[in-house]
């Protein structure tokens, strides 16, 4: 057989480079941005849920839970921020599982693109969703009487810390999504794991009020460290309520920073490695 010229015009491809790594990451990010725009459910859920949480907690519980030296609304805002962004990072898990199931990851993996680009695009998508949630929650909080009692710089640091932690957690979820392969399972499991994790913490009540076993859990819970760090940076630590006496609770900002670095160092390479091996079944 001889090779004949194709009827379809050949196009030259350029080899991968650092520039193409950035461009691949941007292209897959853009894909997720289009999805956010076209599937409004995600955005509606992302904005309504935090509004609902802020209103429910500050009006339903505010009268019954007494935080010495502070208002309940002021106390729980950091908790709601932390809970919302942690849940926001789970999209990466279900989205990777969904892409895997639909064969879209197979398609990407047969293209001469950077293997990390799909994951970068995915986690960037979560970051954007979480940033939108943060803006909505901050606005709602300010309306119901929450006040930032620190410097603007510290407040920005608090927001950055929350978003960074959630970003690092997105990489964990992406890895889990590729391992579990079922978007439904991811959603159910994250609900079952993250609800206790965010509730058995200092997010909604001072950890000192919890029964001893739960208190111990809460004081070592990484979510508590994140909440405490945000509370400190927003200047919302209630003067009257004791902070847990674990190192994690006493030094929440370094704890969270170390946690972010540790999650990224482990799960970025692990997820990229996993991505290079998964294929639809």
């Amino acid at each position: 057989m001889t090779t004949t010229t194709s009827s379809i015009r050949p196009v030259a491809t350029r080899p991968a480079s650092v520039g193409s790594w950035f461009s691949d990451g941007w292209i897959t990010t853009r894909r997720n941005l289009i999805k956010i725009r076209r599937v409004p459910d995600i955005l509606v859920f992302t904005t309504l849920q935090p509004i609902m949480f802020v209103l429910l907690f500050s009006y339903v519980y505010a009268g019954s839970i007494n935080i010495p030296g502070s208002s309940y609304t002021e106390f729980i805002m950091a908790g709601i921020f932390a809970q919302t962004v942690v849940f926001g990072s789970t999209y990466s898990g279900s989205a990777m599982a969904q892409d895997l199931k639909e064969g879209i990851i197979d398609r990407f993996r047969t293209l001469p693109m950077s293997p990390s680009a799909v994951l970068i695009g995915r986690t960037n998508g979560d970051l954007l969703i979480n940033a939108i949630s943060m803006i909505v929650m901050i606005a709602t909080g300010l309306i119901v009487g929450w006040r930032i009692k620190s410097s603007p710089l510290e407040a920005i640091a608090a927001i950055a810390l929350l978003l960074l932690f959630a970003y690092a957690f997105s990489w964990v979820m992406a890895f889990i999504g590729m391992s579990v392969r079922s978007p439904e399972v991811i959603n159910n499991v994250s609900f079952l794991v993250l609800f206790p994790l965010t509730f058995i913490s200092n997010a909604f009540v001072p950890s000192g009020n919890l029964p001893t076993p739960l208190r111990i859990f809460a004081e070592y819970n990484p979510v508590s460290a994140l909440v405490q760090a945000a509370r400190e940076l927003f200047g919302n630590v209630p003067p009257g309520a004791p902070v847990g006496d674990t190192w994690l609770q006493q030094n929440p900002i370094p704890t969270v920073l170390v946690g972010i670095v540790a999650l990224l160092v482990v799960f970025v390479p692990l997820s990229i490695w996993k991505f290079g091996r998964v294929s639809a079944r």
């Binding site: 057989m1 991968a16 193409s20 894909r31 076209r38 293209l111 693109m113 294929s279 639809a280």
Partner: protein, 326 residues
């Protein structure tokens, strides 16, 4: 060395709570440049795994595979620059429009923004996808999605195109449309490796057919070669009266290369013969001489179905249940 060359590929999977599956069990395959080769086999024969190994999605446990001399396992990046892949399920992003899907693929091939857009437009024309151009893929028919997926595999005009069951699940009209597109591509000289469980599809599209079963290629050749490999033609007589059955069986046995097969109503008798036309002439002369009355006498070449049955001992389309049991 052929354009695509696979040697002794082995790939095993261990499904949770189940014994090890040898998806590929020493598979070897050669595909010459510019030809269409069909991998024909039932579900679970190893067709998709073969495509996955050759397209760098899965690494074989052992064995080697090269495309244009490039090692699939060692130089995956170089392989991905010369291949196009369209999978069993249309791997298109539902939330993107047809145009956005193709444009995205072009950009991920690093064609640049302008060339990607131009190429996407071109493919939309070529594949008659104008309807899907500016609407999200969600809501389009299976046939339309497949076309977008196939167009995605052709964004860079690859040297070799892998089509994994390109028409599975499509209605007959879309299937014929897909065959049309593939035939056009082939006329352009693209090397194609396609997998199918439909004999008719392999017969229609492929120059060369590799019959695959239990992770091995058990025969490879043109459709004609495969058909003649199982012994020439087949002669079948249908009698008016079953009283003549013993005599007719004797006549057929004299020319046969196989034991005569008698139908349950005892009036149809068939045999395989080496040289069809000569044998048929001899049989008809004998029948005439002994005054046996016939409803029908005929000669046919074996179908790919017969080939498949002969080679594997089971029919071409078998369900998953019997596959697991075997």
């Amino acid at each position: 060395m052929s354009f695509i060359e696979a040697r002794d590929l082995v790939k095993t999977y261990t499904p949770r709570g189940a014994p090890v599956v040898r998806a590929l069990d020493g598979l070897s395959l050669s595909v010459p440049r510019g030809t269409v080769t069909a991998l024909l086999g039932p579900n679970g024969a190893g067709k998709t795994t073969t495509v996955k190994v050759l397209t760098t999605l899965v690494t074989a446990d052992s064995g080697t595979a090269t495309i244009d001399g490039i090692d699939v396992a060692a130089d995956g990046g170089d392989i991905r620059r010369i291949i196009g892949v369209s999978g069993q399920y249309a791997a298109v992003d539902e939330n993107l429009t047809g145009f956005e899907n193709l444009d995205m693929v072009g950009r991920l091939y690093h064609l640049g923004a302008k060339a990607s857009r131009a190429r996407a437009k071109e493919l939309i024309e070529l594949f008659d996808l104008t309807e899907a151009q500016n609407r999200p893929v969600k809501g389009f028919s299976g046939g339309m999605r497949r076309r977008i997926d196939l167009a995605g595999a052709l964004v860079t005009d690859p040297q070799v195109l892998f089509l994994d069951e390109p028409t599975t699940g499509l209605d007959p009209r879309s299937r014929i449309g897909m065959w049309d597109i593939i035939t056009r591509l082939v006329a352009g000289g693209t090397t194609v490796l396609l997998t199918t469980q439909y004999l008719e599809e392999a017969d229609q599209l492929a120059d060369d057919i590799a019959v695959i079963d239990h992770g091995k290629v058990i025969a490879q050749g043109t459709s004609d070669e495969l058909k003649s490999s199982i012994g020439g033609q087949r002669i079948e007589l249908t009698l008016v009266s079953e009283d003549d059955t013993p005599a007719a069986t004797e006549i057929l046995r004299a020319v046969a290369s196989s034991e005569p097969e008698v139908s349950t109503d005892r009036r149809t008798i068939a045999v395989n013969v080496a040289h069809g036309p000569a044998a048929l002439r001899a049989v008809l002369a004998d029948v005439e001489e002994r005054s046996i009355r016939l409803h029908d006498a005929g000669m046919q070449r074996p179908s790919l179905d017969d080939v498949f049955l002969q080679l594997t001992g089971h029919a071409a389309t078998i369900d998953d249940e019997s596959e697991k049991a075997s």
